[in-house]
């Protein structure tokens, strides 16, 4: 375990102040929410001393608000808590399912969507689902707050766009249009307790003639960062999301992917399966609309 100090500020301003102080003194500060990534890292490979800034007790990071135009989800809310929110579940079933895939029941009592995003792994399960939902990150810093689209948040393996004096408050998701549904699928060799070898999130809007008017597709674990695949969305818009157009979207995902071969999968495997998951997630989202789930 690395040596560490611990502070639990109660406000955004105090947190920024703390981060700023550490930065001035040249000390490392690290934001802690559920700790399901941070504590494991401190116990294994990342032994550098640091100050842990526990943001779980700040109101802004624990609030869910569902407004007419947009939804706000506090960054530190455990996925287990989010999944008890029926209203959220009905609006963004795919996103909530992606949060429900992370770890065990016990882990889900701590692990948050914000933490998943800030860990910035290419394989983070909630990120493609957030991308599909056009989510924006609300980031606080010394000069106030700023919004960054999720697809621009992660900048590399384990890195993101925040400076050392910034931290994530929450996520802002547009209220889904009528007849909109999302879905997220990941591939793992097991059934649970694993990391995505490939992930794909799809959000679709169909008009009353079953024609797709809006679509977004996010993919994970097939590039250094999760990706927004605009061409996959374009392949679906204007179609009835039938086999041909879903296949075209799948191929667009394959083209956008730049995976690596490692212990979890090969380039060929990941490229192939990202298309399969895009297709299948598209079918789920489409059928959710057609079956009148909203």
């Amino acid at each position: 375990m690395s040596r560490f100090g611990y502070v639990a500020p109660k406000s955004v301003a105090d947190t920024i102040h703390l981060l700023h102080d550490c930065e001035t003194r040249g000390e490392r500060a690290q934001i802690l929410a559920g700790g399901t990534d941070v504590i494991v890292q401190m116990r294994t490979f990342d032994r550098e001393p640091r100050t842990l800034v526990d943001v779980k007790y700040i109101e802004e990071l624990n609030r869910v608000s569902i407004e007419d135009n947009e939804t706000y989800i506090g960054a530190a809310i455990p996925s287990g808590v989010l999944n008890e929110n029926q209203k959220l579940k009905s609006l963004y079933p795919g996103l909530l399912e992606s949060a429900d895939l992370i770890g065990s029941t016990q882990i889900q009592g701590r692990a948050s969507i914000g933490g998943n995003l800030c860990n910035s792994s290419p394989a983070g399960d909630t990120i493609p689902a957030l991308i599909a939902n056009a989510a924006k990150c609300l980031i606080a810093g010394t000069h106030g707050t700023r919004n960054v689209p999720v697809e621009d948040f992660v900048t590399g393996v384990g890195t993101n766009c925040m400076t050392r004096t910034e931290f994530l408050l929450g996520l802002i998701l547009p209220r889904p249009r009528p007849r909109t549904q999302d879905a997220y699928l990941r591939f793992i060799p097991r059934t649970e307790m694993d990391i995505a070898v490939v992930g794909a999130g799809v959000s679709l809007t169909l008009d009353h003639d079953r024609v797709c008017t809006h679509a977004r597709v996010g993919i994970g674990a097939v590039a250094p960062t999760p990706l927004l695949v605009t061409k996959a969305a374009e392949a679906l818009i204007g179609t009835q999301c039938d086999e041909t157009s879903l296949q075209a979207a799948a191929d667009a995902c394959r083209a956008a992917a730049s995976p690596i071969t490692d212990k979890r999968g090969t380039v060929v495997y990941r490229r192939k399966v990202v298309g399969v998951l895009c297709y299948r997630a598209g079918v789920i989202a489409r059928d959710r609309i057609l079956n009148g789930q909203n």
């Binding site: 375990m1 040596r3 591939f187 060799p189 097991r190 059934t191 649970e192 307790m193 694993d194 990391i195 070898v197 490692d262 212990k263 979890r264 999968g265 090969t266 060929v268 495997y269 192939k272 399966v273 399969v276």
Partner: protein, 741 residues
């Protein structure tokens, strides 16, 4: 001979285990739970290279560090004739695998110990590693051990082949001439780890007179005592080993890694030393099982009689000789009555951790090959796979391929039970594939001791030396209850340390319920003899005139005496007046362990777009001889099935080109989680073992043998072609599907 089938009162029931409360409430003490005042923490420095010559080690900075009490290398072990185990525990001239230990420190805290380890400077001359049996057998292969000659024969040039094994009978060439169908295939089985949840852990405390006390998690405290004695050349009487509860072993805790290191560190520091491996160290530096290449050729005539069989196998031993190639060769054809066969096996050195036993060591690999080949044969013959096996099955009197004639065995009974089992009679749905395979393990007997102590209220303590891994305390209590004729609840079983019970070989080889159970039954009989003597004295009879019936001493029929039967409790209560406390003891070197056979079948589906195999159903039928506690027999069957399924589908050691293990964590070394497998249906068959008073056969190892081929055969059925290499992981299955289309 085995007793005729009779009603038992205790045996075959399913009571709660004596150690259950402590384990479910978290109070039970496992290896890492023990501590002593003033204790230090030991850490090990491990090689970053898979193969390198150690040119120099600079310990000066570590030794000078505040809070460091002792620092050792192999130079601090006895210098003469080090055993392989000694060289594995602390490397000598060469490091032989990535993660090979070569120095250790004891310090006041774990972080100081870590700092000290990081301060040690080692100069290496990096050598080319040998990373597979194929590479090791290549003509110009680098040598893992420059002095190793095959079978110790000085007329051979040094090579990576430590030993060869050969068995044959009859004339295989003529046998193949008689065959109408021949299958010839090569199969590759990867290295798999036992995956015990509890890492190796110990505390060692050496006193001023050099006496060592060791607390550790192990499958055998007496073996640990022997190993410490050998490695450190210490007198056995100067070593006391106390086994903790054990969080899984599966063969992996039959050897030692940290115990002798902790003893030596403690000896030099003058303080107790605790060492606990982390998961990464367990994966990198403890023994997995052999990766194996098996070539099998089997021929049968059109009636389905196997006319000849031939096998060639190379077992990776890791960095030191001693793979289970011999049991692998002995087991490959064990289920069959064969007239003509040839078996060749090689024990091959590679720059990987030294392999350790893993549940039926050697058999899952070789029998995966044979059972896959027999499945192909059944397809060629268009014959039900169980029928084909019944036509060739070994039975009582069959000469086993490894020599002896089988006494009563249960293979045919298992096959017949499988054939009529509802799970087999119900044919799988479309797109679901079914695969069948049989399993086998020899089982062993060896030495065990047991003592019975009777309290004045008639309660019984069993003292024995077999660490309880699979519920053996409960089995001992059940056999004692049955033998003595007293309630199960009045009996407790205690696992002693090496100074509180007689010698006992380790818990392994599926021997505990059989051999230690035999000692317990004999010790109970010793108590009964004493009870009869006391009753005879009370009644003024000869001991021969007293019988023991259901927990009571009674006058033998025909003995003309008016006497109320004396209960065990009454005899215990009055023992002080009749000659002192009631005790019994026995020791055995148990013979006739009795081979255990099984039949498994599984139904699987394959996602053709992702290559993922889903196990839909799995049934295990196995001969237990006699199931003492059926739940724990089923527990063994289910646990072995899950380990076998994991090995078949996902588990493997993945090395990079430099011999660095890439998946040294449970995240990427994928043992199945509960939701990955269906409920494993079990049917216990009972063909009593004639060498045990209750007919017990060991049941712990056979369960892992058949699932590999059963799963592979099921996948073969779904895909329409066979994947010869395990694991059948999603990328491999998808690649095979791509190549097939």
């Amino acid at each position: 001979m085995a007793e005729a089938v009779r009603e038992f009162t205790a045996i075959g029931t399913r009571p709660i285990r004596p150690d259950g409360v402590e384990k479910v409430t978290g109070k039970a003490n496992f290896g890492a739970d023990f501590s002593l005042p003033g204790m230090l923490y030991g850490k090990v420095l491990r090689s970053p290279y898979a193969h390198a010559r150690v040119k120099g080690i600079d310990l000066s900075e570590a030794k000078a560090m505040e809070g460091v009490f002792s620092v050792i290398t192999s130079a601090d072990f006895p210098k003469e004739n080090p055993s392989d185990m000694s060289c594995n525990i602390l490397a000598r001239e060469k490091v032989l695998y990535h993660g090979h230990a070569l120095a250790a420190v004891a310090a006041r805290s774990q972080s100081i110990a870590e700092e000290a380890i990081n301060s040690i400077k080692v100069e290496y001359e990096v050598l080319q590693p040998v990373l597979s049996a194929d590479a090791a057998l290549a003509e110009d292969a680098p040598l893992v051990d420059e002095n190793l000659r095959t079978n110790g024969d000085e007329s051979f040039m040094p090579s990576n082949v430590a030993a060869t094994v050969h068995y044959e009978r009859g004339d295989v060439d003529k046998g193949f001439e008689k065959a109408d169908y021949i299958v010839e295939e090569e199969y590759r089985i990867p290295s798999a780890h036992q995956g015990y949840i509890e890492p190796h852990a110990c505390v060692a405390d050496v006193n001023e007179k050099g006496r060592a006390s060791v607390w550790c998690c192990t499958q055998g405290a007496f073996e640990v005592r022997n190993y410490i004695s050998e490695v450190l050349q210490k007198k056995i009487s100067d070593i006391k080993v106390t086994p903790s509860e054990i969080g899984g072993g599966f063969g992996g805790k039959t050897v030692v890694y940290v115990e002798p290191v902790a003893v030596r560190l403690s000896e030099l520091a003058g303080r107790p030393v605790k060492m606990v491996m982390n998961r990464e160290e367990v994966f990198r530096a403890t023994g997995p099982c052999s990766a194996t290449v098996c070539r099998v050729k089997v021929g049968a005539n059109k009636d389905g009689i196997i006319t000849a069989a031939k096998a060639w196998m190379a077992y990776e031993a890791g960095a030191f000789p001693g793979s289970p190639v011999t049991p692998g060769c002995m087991s490959i054809f064990a289920p069959y009555d064969l007239k003509n066969f040839v078996i060749d096996g090689l024990d091959v050195l590679v720059n990987k951790p030294k392999v350790a036993a893993y549940r039926a060591p050697g058999a899952p690999q070789s029998m995966h090959a044979m059972e896959s080949a027999v499945d192909e044969l059944a397809r060629k013959l268009n014959m039900d796979p169980i029928d084909l096996r019944l036509k060739n099955a070994a039975d009582e009197g069959t000469e086993a391929p490894y020599g002896p004639k089988y006494p009563a065995i249960g293979l045919v009974e298992c096959l017949k039970a499988a054939k009529v089992h509802p799970n087999y009679v119900n044919k799988p749905a479309k797109d679901v594939g079914r695969g069948v395979a049989v399993g086998f393990w020899f089982n062993i007997g060896m030495q065990s001791s047991a003592e019975i102590w009777v309290a004045p209220n008639g309660a019984v303590t069993i003292m024995e030396g077999s660490p309880d891994i699979g519920g053996s305390r409960a089995s001992m209590c059940l056999m004692a209850a049955e033998t003595l004729g007293i309630p199960y609840d009045s009996i407790n079983a205690v696992i002693g340390d090496t100074e509180s019970t007689g010698f006992c070989n380790l818990t392994g080889g599926s021997r505990t319920t059989f051999a230690t159970g035999l000692a317990v039954v004999r010790a109970c009989e010793d108590v009964i003899a004493e009870c009869k003597r006391r009753a005879a004295m009370t009644w003024d009879l000869d001991t021969e005139q007293v019988d023991w019936e259901n927990g009571f001493a009674v006058p033998r029929p025909g003995v003309n005496i008016e006497a109320e039967p004396l209960s065990f409790a009454e005899l215990a209560k009055t023992a002080g007046r009749t000659g002192g406390p009631l005790v019994g003891r026995a020791s055995v070197n148990a013979q006739g362990a009795g081979a255990c056979f099984s039949v498994n079948w599984t139904d699987v589906t394959v996602d053709r777009d992702t290559g993922k195999v889903d196990v839909q159903a799995f049934t295990a039928v196995q001969d237990a001889g006699r199931a003492i506690h059926p739940s724990y027999v089923e527990g063994q069957m289910q646990g072995g099935a899950v380990q076998g399924i994991g090995w078949a589908l996902n588990e493997e050691y993945i090395y990079d080109d430099n011999g660095v293990l890439e998946n040294a964590s449970f995240l990427d070394y994928r043992i199945p989680v509960a939701s990955d497998v269906p409920m494993i249906d079990c049917q216990i068959v009972e063909v009593p073992n004639p060498s045990h008073p209750y007919g017990v056969r060991g049941v712990g190892e056979t369960p892992i043998v058949a699932p590999l081929a059963a799963t592979a055969n099921a996948v073969r059925e779904v895909l329409g072609f066979r994947i010869n290499d395990l694991p059948m992981s999603p990328p491999r299955v998808l690649e095979a599907l791509d190549n097939a289309s």
